[in-house]
């Protein structure tokens, strides 16, 4: 150990016992609220800090109340560095996580939409991975930002969030057919792996994403919010070129790569029913009311379950 050196800390002169356990941080909290509000305020269209504060005062006057100027920068200039960094960082993050949604809306509308989204739903997680967690309900609640491509935009947002979940979501011990053998179907309860998402689509958004990724030569391989951009800049919406086509999709991962698996309607209905808590027997009964299941044979269903078991899709409901 090196010998302790004398420091200029006044703390060394005081007993730690004098520290209040739950010191009210009123001054600190108030200062941080003021600064955070300024930092998180939207930029102007020229990507500058807004010149006018919300109460009509010049922003410079508000900011000068707590930020010191120096010989080169005003208080406004200094806070503007943080204001711009905030928006650039978060927008970059959503650009990288939602390339498909950006393609559906086009750059200009996507930018407007995520700016509105971040104002309505500031990040509530320390992890940037979670930044888009409320994007789907936002698009539902505020259709103006995705009009006239709202349904396609929502489905694309669902697919891109499903990719994030599949990339690093929780994995549980899979159910095996062997362990289920002999259990009456009305007492078999299974769920999907937590990293799996089922989607019922009216647009082939999975094909759109695959086309975009092929064109740009990259799949989601590393961490969400990776440094590299996944899709190069595009200005215009591709939405008018995508025609409605109903489909069912399962988003999963295998050997730590993300995959899309197309399902038919009966497969989707069985998996959805199981994941919602139905027994195996009840899930099969759902097929009886499904016209598209008329030609499904017991052998078909057995082969589906074999494949799902091999891929580890299903877990015991109690796990």
């Amino acid at each position: 150990m090196k010998p302790s050196k004398q420091t200029n800390s006044s703390a060394a002169k005081r007993s730690l016992a004098s520290l209040p356990d739950t010191a009210p941080a009123s001054g600190l909290a108030e200062l941080q609220r003021m600064m955070a509000e300024a930092v998180m305020r939207p930029l102007t269209t020229g990507e500058q800090m807004q010149p006018q504060w919300k109460d009509g005062r010049p922003t410079q006057e508000f900011v000068a109340g707590f930020i010191k100027p120096n010989d080169r920068l005003t208080s406004f200039d200094r806070l503007e560095i943080y204001n711009r960094q905030y928006w650039f960082r978060l927008i970059d993050c959503l650009y990288e996580d939602y390339p498909g949604l950006r393609a559906v809306l086009g750059d200009r509308r996507f930018f407007a939409m995520i700016t509105a989204y971040l104002q309505r739903h500031p990040s509530e997680s320390p992890l940037l991975r979670d930044l888009g967690r409320k994007l789907i309900p936002f698009l539902q609640d505020e259709p103006v930002w995705s009009h006239p491509h709202g349904p396609m935009a929502r489905e694309m947002a669902q697919l891109e969030w499903a990719q994030i979940v599949a990339f690093d979501g929780e994995s549980r011990r899979a159910a095996t057919l062997k362990r289920l053998a002999g259990t009456p179907p009305d007492r078999v309860f299974l769920r999907l792996q937590p990293y799996i998402t089922l989607l019922e689509l009216t647009y082939p958004v999975d094909e759109v994403v695959i086309r975009l990724l092929r064109r740009d030569g990259k799949m989601r391989k590393e961490a969400s919010n990776a440094v590299e951009s996944t899709v190069r800049a595009r200005r215009h919406s591709i939405a008018n070129r995508v025609k409605p086509r109903p489909g069912w999709l399962l988003v999963h991962r295998l050997e730590n790569s993300v995959y899309f698996k197309r399902l038919n309607e009966p497969q989707y209905v069985i998996l959805r029913s199981l994941d919602r808590g139905a027994s195996l027997e009840a899930a099969f009964m759902q097929l009886e009311e499904l016209p598209s299941a008329a030609e499904v044979s017991p052998e078909d269903v057995q082969s589906w379950f074999r494949a799902w078991a091999e891929l580890g899709f299903l877990v015991p409901a109690s796990s």
Binding site: K2, A25, G27, A36, R78, V227
Partner: protein
């Protein structure tokens, strides 16, 4: 001596930040590197590729965790869910110490995802120190706090930044991750002598040093981590080693990242300074 309670009594040399563009090279070529620093938040996930990569790295290398989101300086309480995930990762990596920044970044449960500067007040020091102690007690690992680069100062500040850092680490009884590039950047932005900073922190608490590059603009300097280390920063590093002794040193390169070999070559320049301190023996 490099080993101290704040870096888990370890004797680490020169490390590199583990970054995605280098994964393949590291996993396939297994280059020599004394240790890697990971960004904790990139691996605080439930499963999948990030943890697969981490586990492979852990089979071959020593790993130290560096965080960006505890926000010791935020007035609000620590995020318990975040700490729980962090502790799970600490158990996985067996990190000998853990670092995060002396900054704030969240208010009322909303996150800026930035490392915002502290007001240098006694109240802020008490709040911050209490949170560091709480985190250390929960995580059961030594904590070093890193000085951030900053672009703004507050009217309410009652002391210099280095006095504030000293105040916090003494109250919290924790270590310092001394980022000499951040000291240089802030000195240029705020007009102080960076050697005053390095000379006046409690050197026996320095558990680790960060090096990085920065970018000069017309009216300020930004901490961009996208360049080689510049001469003034090497001089500060040299001085820090004179005072703190041989210390675990890490090069950060986070943007426009060149090849692994190029980054490693830049980091190994620190050997010139570390060796001279080893030969000289005791710190000044």
């Amino acid at each position: 001596m490099p080993a101290n309670p704040f870096n888990g009594h370890t004797d680490y040399g020169i490390g590199l930040g583990l970054r995605v563009p280098h994964y393949r090279h590291i996993l396939e070529q297994k280059p020599t590197c004394d240790w890697f620093e990971i960004i904790s938040e990139n691996f605080m996930v439930d499963a999948g590729r990030p943890l697969e990569v981490l586990d492979k790295i852990l089979e071959q290398y020593r790993v130290v965790q560096h965080g960006v989101a505890i926000y010791f300086g935020s007035a609000e309480p620590l995020n318990r869910d975040h700490l729980r995930k962090l502790k799970r990762l600490v158990k996985r990596t067996n990190t000998p110490w853990l670092s995060d920044h002396l900054c704030w970044g969240s208010v009322d449960g909303r996150y800026t995802h930035d490392l915002l500067p502290m007001p240098y007040t006694f109240e802020a020091a008490r709040v911050t120190a209490r949170k560091i102690r709480e985190a250390r007690d929960y995580l059961e690992v030594p904590i070093c706090v890193e000085n951030v680069s900053s672009y703004a100062e507050f009217h309410v500040s009652e002391m210099t930044e280095w006095e504030f850092l000293s105040e916090v680490v003494e109250l919290a009884d924790c270590g310092i991750l001394l980022d000499v590039n951040n000291i240089y950047v802030s000195s240029q932005n705020h007009g102080f002598d960076p050697f005053d900073y390095v000379n006046n922190v409690p050197h026996h608490r320095v558990g680790q040093i960060h090096l990085a590059g920065h970018s000069k603009f017309e009216r300020y300097i930004l901490d961009t981590h996208d360049h080689p280390v510049l001469d003034p920063v090497w001089k500060l590093y040299d001085r820090a080693l004179q005072l703190a002794g041989h210390t675990a040193t890490l090069l950060e390169w986070d943007d426009r990242i060149p090849s692994f070999d190029e980054v490693h070559h830049e980091a190994l320049k620190a050997n010139k300074f570390l060796r001279s301190k080893t030969l000289a023996g005791q710190p000044a």
